[in-house]
């Protein structure tokens, strides 16, 4: 009988337990990646097969026994318009606010309070943003007497984007080494020249990545739009359409997924295909870019 306590013993309870938990963890990881694979596969198959040139040019037909559902042009344009409005509001506000937090505040109680507020605002349910804009703008008809409008939808989305933009600006600027600031101030540049010419350009890439991800996220948001921008079946032709109901891909998917008609359901799959492919492309691209930046960082 050889004493083999120094050898690996398979049957020892600690080794059996280790094996068990390791396989459990592998199992968890497998389950965790399954949803993405399933969702993306179904969207590629069910949505991809619906993609035709007419899809991009036609208006959707109102649901009925009509076999031809039409296209998603108004929703596609609407998503672009609403997201642009949201970006036009939230990027200046967010970048400006982030500049104050990172460059001027010196970690005082005010900046602590604002950073806390940013985190709380990020946790506000997206539908509450819609409710807020409904009460503030839609029901009061404050925008030149129009009720549901693309503009109101854009404002609701901008509330959701704001925390993301502030956070990425704040964090991006904090990564800029202080030596750059000292050098600029030391040769006599004023604070705003230093920020606009030195620190912001240095942090540009990381801020841009975060902002683009925020825009991609906003493009898929539905809850703030369903009772601010509502939905529209008609082409967007001019600037005055901003003050009327405006369709978007996300709301189109929501409305048409719940229709009992097959044609509309197919349109919802096609819209999901376009939405998901663009969002995933933006995400993967910015991820690669971020990894690349990490490798080539000089400082």
């Amino acid at each position: 009988m050889i004493m083999n306590s120094l050898y690996y013993q398979k049957k020892l309870s600690r080794n059996v337990g280790d094996k068990f938990f390791t396989s459990l963890s592998v199992f968890c990881a497998l389950i965790a990646i399954l949803p993405l694979i399933f969702v993306v596969t179904y969207i590629l198959i069910k949505g991809g097969s619906q993609i035709t040139p007419e899809l991009f040019t036609l208006e959707p037909n109102p649901p009925g026994d009509d076999l031809d559902a039409g296209g998603i042009n108004p929703a596609l344009v609407g998503t672009l318009v609403i997201t642009t409005i949201a970006s036009l509001i939230s990027i200046p506000v967010g970048v400006g606010g982030g500049i104050y937090l990172a460059e001027y505040s010196n970690g005082g109680p005010f900046s602590k309070f604002i950073r806390f507020g940013v985190n709380v605002l990020a946790g506000v349910p997206s539908i509450i943003a819609g409710v807020f804009i409904y009460a503030l703008i839609v029901s009061t008809k404050i925008l030149f007497g129009s009720m549901y409008s693309g503009l109101a939808g854009g404002m609701a989305l901008s509330i959701l984007m704001l925390p993301t933009v502030i956070k990425t600006t704040d964090e991006g600027l904090k990564l800029v080494p202080n030596e750059l600031r000292y050098a600029s101030l030391g040769i006599g540049a004023s604070m705003y020249t230093t920020i606009l010419k030195i620190t912001l350009p240095t942090a540009f890439r990381s801020i841009a990545t975060g902002v683009v991800l925020g825009i991609a996220r906003a493009a898929g948001e539905t809850a703030p739009l369903i009772f601010t921008a509502l939905f529209s079946y008609y082409y967007i032709v001019g600037i005055e359409d901003l003050f009327y109901e405006m369709g978007s891909l996300a709301v189109l998917i929501y409305n048409f997924a719940l229709e009992p008609y097959d044609a509309q359901n197919k349109l919802a799959w096609a819209a999901s295909f376009i939405l998901v492919i663009s969002i995933l492309t933006v995400n993967i691209f910015s991820r690669i870019l971020a990894a690349f930046t990490e490798k080539t960082k000089r400082v």
Partner: protein, 315 residues
């Protein structure tokens, strides 16, 4: 010589440049204050809009489940119960799954590139819009689980949670789709905290002869507990406010039932469903429900932030 003199004369900044500097700073200050203004604006607006309903029903609103626009009687108990049950139960499933996945990503069972792929897959899942997940849930998940729910009712029908005939769209499906949405949040935060646990803790545990999982359970996880807890709370806040996917799959019925197999309601799905065509005191009641939802998610979020600050890793 002449040149030098003028230089020294002008060594103070010009007034206009000073002003620009000041304007720039104050603009930035104003923009950052806007966050606080928007936040308080949201709270105040939703509160004042719900005032009518609040003064009429008081706290009874929270415990009655009558929702009848014709008789003008409103109570949000079904929706509040649905919100809490779906978010808590989905969290209960997500925590082990998410933490297990995070451990898989941070341990070295498999080569690094495999772990990186798994990690980015989980994070990409977070990028899928919830309305698309809802669409997928309606047309793929629901038919897939239909048989399973019948089985569940048949054999576990004596448990109140499964006591009703399975309906096409029900709370259990909403819980499952919530798991899909929460998984990326819990996993990525748990992974980040696990990565921050210093290597010497692990080495010390291995050094005194602990096995890998003994180390994970007794050293690594306790050290990362606060971060994981914060991630869980953030996920809880997200689950309570999640609207689209849940609205599309939960069945939207205000009839109260203990059973997860019958259609349910959450506050956010009630808002999404009724806000567009509500009028009169129904609007105010919906605002009241929105206010409840907001308070719930604010409390959870603030608690999460406090937890992060209080118990952040001290190594």
């Amino acid at each position: 010589m002449e040149e030098k003199l003028t230089l020294f004369k002008n060594r103070k900044r010009f007034g206009i440049e000073k002003n620009i500097d000041l304007i720039f700073k104050n603009t930035a200050l104003a923009l950052s204050s806007l966050v606080a203004i928007v936040l308080f604006g949201i709270i105040l607006v939703v509160f004042f809009q719900s005032f009518e309903s609040f003064s009429r029903y008081g706290l009874n609103f929270l415990v009655t489940s009558e929702w009848n626009p014709v008789k003008d009687e409103y109570g949000a108990f079904t929706a509040i119960y649905g919100t809490l049950v779906t978010s808590l139960l989905s969290l209960l499933i997500t925590i082990p799954l998410g933490v297990g996945t995070a451990i898989f990503i941070t341990e070295d069972f498999v080569p690094k590139f495999v772990r990186e792929i798994v990690g980015s897959f989980v994070e990409l899942l977070a990028a899928i819009p919830s309305v698309v997940l809802g669409l997928w849930a309606i047309f793929v998940m629901e038919p897939f689980f239909r048989e399973f729910f019948v089985f569940l009712h048949k054999f576990f029908g004596w448990i109140p949670l499964f006591s009703s005939e399975p309906a096409g769209r029900n709370s259990l499906l909403a819980i499952l789709i919530l798991v899909v949405m929460l998984l990326p949040i819990v996993t990525s935060i748990a992974r980040d905290t696990l990565n921050q646990v210093p290597k010497k803790l692990r080495n010390a545990a291995y050094g005194i002869g602990a096995s890998r999982w003994k180390t994970i359970f007794s050293v690594i996880l306790p050290a990362a507990l606060s971060g994981i807890m914060a991630g869980v709370l953030l996920a809880l806040g997200r689950a309570m406010g999640e609207t689209m996917a849940v609205t599309m799959i939960i069945g939207n019925s205000n009839a109260f039932s203990w059973s997860l197999l019958s259609p349910g309601y959450t506050i956010s799905s009630m808002l999404a469903n009724q806000f567009g065509e509500a009028d009169g005191s129904q609007v105010s009641s919906l605002f009241y429900a929105a206010f409840v939802l907001m308070i719930l998610s604010l409390v959870v979020n603030i608690f999460a932030q406090w937890l992060v600050k209080k118990f952040s890793l001290k190594y």
